[in-house]
Symmetry: C2
Subunit: 349 residues, 2 copies
């Protein structure tokens, strides 16, 4: 399984030069005569020479590759974000190594270990739903690994972060529901410890409070694995609709939770929004094709990936240690469709 072999040595030998000269000629050094440069360049072109990136990595002690850890690739939000990551990385000559935690702490730790042992230059992470202990990230960060968090961030680690205004997204969505006549609004959230859960629930509660609605803790449900398993969504939805006070609307605080909730509501033969209104965070490409057309809080996933990667590459390529970090907060996009419209305003598609 040999594959090509043309190295700087081959050029040197063929042209009767030393490897140093060839190397310098290729890098356009001033101490090489124009004629020699031309000679080398032309010959290199002719035999289709390409510098061996592995040898370069070894020499420069950098791999020009960045690691990415997300919960799952086959999720609209993350695949769009990866799209953004990949595009910026490519522009800067980096490649991207992706791994999936599937919301599991153990898998996350293993992949983290694996990635660092593969000598990556930096890391982009959206933490797993299960993760409550951040010491593995912390230790790595303290040892000097550039890390950028996005979406699900960690306050305990001081580095660049990229998020949407989760508070605002949840606040506005909740406000919309209230202003459209929904009175009993339940929330289905991810794991309680997650940054996005905290921020989004805060927005939800604030909107209720601002409209003089008392927050009912039994109206807030958590899914440990972020709805990765439909059973947990079924569990909490069942609890909600079987409770003494049935909600008339649900705010779903995660991609999988939004479609999952709709799935369960449909299975239980509830009319949405007739019986229960629904709005949720989602980056699904087909949200408007869904029945009923889904009201969503959409994150600029592609852009988030781009920004995170830009920040990471800045970190990696910075000459002196970076001490001041920023948290980029982008605006979510709220799209109201039938699933969150009040019965009296409801129009058939």
């Amino acid at each position: 399984m040999k594959f090509e072999a043309v190295t700087i040595k081959d050029i040197a030998k063929a042209l009767g030069l030393s490897t140093s000269t060839v190397s310098r000629a290729l890098r356009d050094s001033y101490e090489i005569s124009p004629e020699t440069k031309k000679l080398v360049l032309e010959y290199a072109e002719k035999i289709n020479y390409h510098p061996n990136p592995i040898a370069l990595s070894l020499k420069e002690r950098r791999s020009r590759s960045i690691g990415v850890i997300v919960s799952e690739i086959a999720n609209s939000f993350f695949s769009q974000a990866i799209d953004g990551i990949e595009s910026i990385a490519y522009k800067n000559g980096y490649n991207v190594i992706i791994s999936q935690s599937r919301e599991s702490f153990d898998r996350e730790a293993i992949h983290l270990q694996y990635l660092t042992s593969r000598s990556i230059d930096g890391l982009i992470v959206s933490v797993a739903a299960e993760t409550k202990d951040f010491s593995h990230f912390k230790e790595l960060h303290e040892r000097g690994m550039p890390i950028v968090f996005f979406d699900r961030i960690i306050n305990e680690i001081n580095t660049h972060k990229v998020i949407v205004d989760n508070y605002l997204g949840a606040y506005d969505a909740t406000r919309y529901l209230i202003e459209n006549g929904f009175k009993h609004i339940a929330a289905i959230a991810n794991n309680e410890i997650l940054s996005i859960t905290r921020d989004r629930l805060a927005g939800y509660k604030a909107a209720l409070a601002d409209h003089n609605i008392k927050t009912d803790d039994s109206f807030i449900k958590y899914c440990e694995h972020g709805g990765l398993r439909l059973e947990e969504v079924e569990q909490v939805v069942t609890e909600l609709v079987d409770g003494e006070i049935k909600p008339d609307a649900i705010l779903a605080l995660g991609d999988k939770l939004t479609t999952g909730t709709l799935r369960i509501l449909k299975a239980k033969k509830f009319n949405v929004p007739g019986d229960i209104g629904l709005i949720g965070f989602s980056n699904s490409e087909t949200s408007e094709l869904i029945e009923p057309p889904l009201s969503i809080i959409k994150q600029p996933a592609f852009e988030m990936g781009e920004i995170a990667t830009d920040l990471l590459i800045q970190l990696i390529e910075s000459k002196r240690p970076v001490t001041s970090f920023e948290t980029k907060k982008l605006a979510p996009q709220i799209i109201i469709r039938e699933s969150a419209k009040n019965k009296k305003n409801y129009v058939e598609f």
Copy 2:
């Protein structure tokens, strides 16, 4: 931005041994005494030594990474396939470098160039819709690069391939439509040159022929970019519904085409399946939530990714040149829902 530095030399120095001895001790060579081994192993463990994969790659002339080229990551089919690829690659200690052609021939060629210059050990490809000239793949393959094609394959190159039975999928879907009373079935396909287009259209035509329905060429429409741009879908759908004979059902032969067609039909206020029935290839996670619940021909994307990766790794790690190749053909899954049900059998969800 220094990050760790513990090498075999550090161990050697600390223990007063030579690097060769340390290396051999770590690899459990028989020529090292048990005591020395223990010493080295324990110290390595203590200072958290990990072999530098880049140095290894240089020495062994292999990078343990595989390249993947797909049209876009943020597409259910491909993200599921990548999921499968990633899982097998990870199990075998490979990492995966992903790039997107976005159906463009030029981007595909550039990425191919980039990937090979990054010294990958092998390649998994689903070719871009635009690609009519396969010489870049051919040349690479002839120079010894292991390649596995999946989904959109190239007959001209003799290597492992992984596909679904596209003929069967299209045949059965068409047959279903016919048997349910649809008479004028149009097909919307990808670029004409694509393997999946050829196979799927062949299945479509065969089903029509087997039911004594004449194939009408004006009923077959092509989208150069596989529906990546909604305009091209709009264009062909418009042509179909404005034609002298309006189809009463549409078979969409690609992920983006299926949802795209539905989008356009809805925009044009057509009732599906009342006015026009619809079935298509799709791996969308939300197909049953869509209005109307979408009938789909689903590919085992994850499994395809797994198999392709398995085959590729076999190729890479084979001692002697592989000369006999196989084309794995998996069964598509046909899921019939309301969008393809005849009016008279149609039941409201």
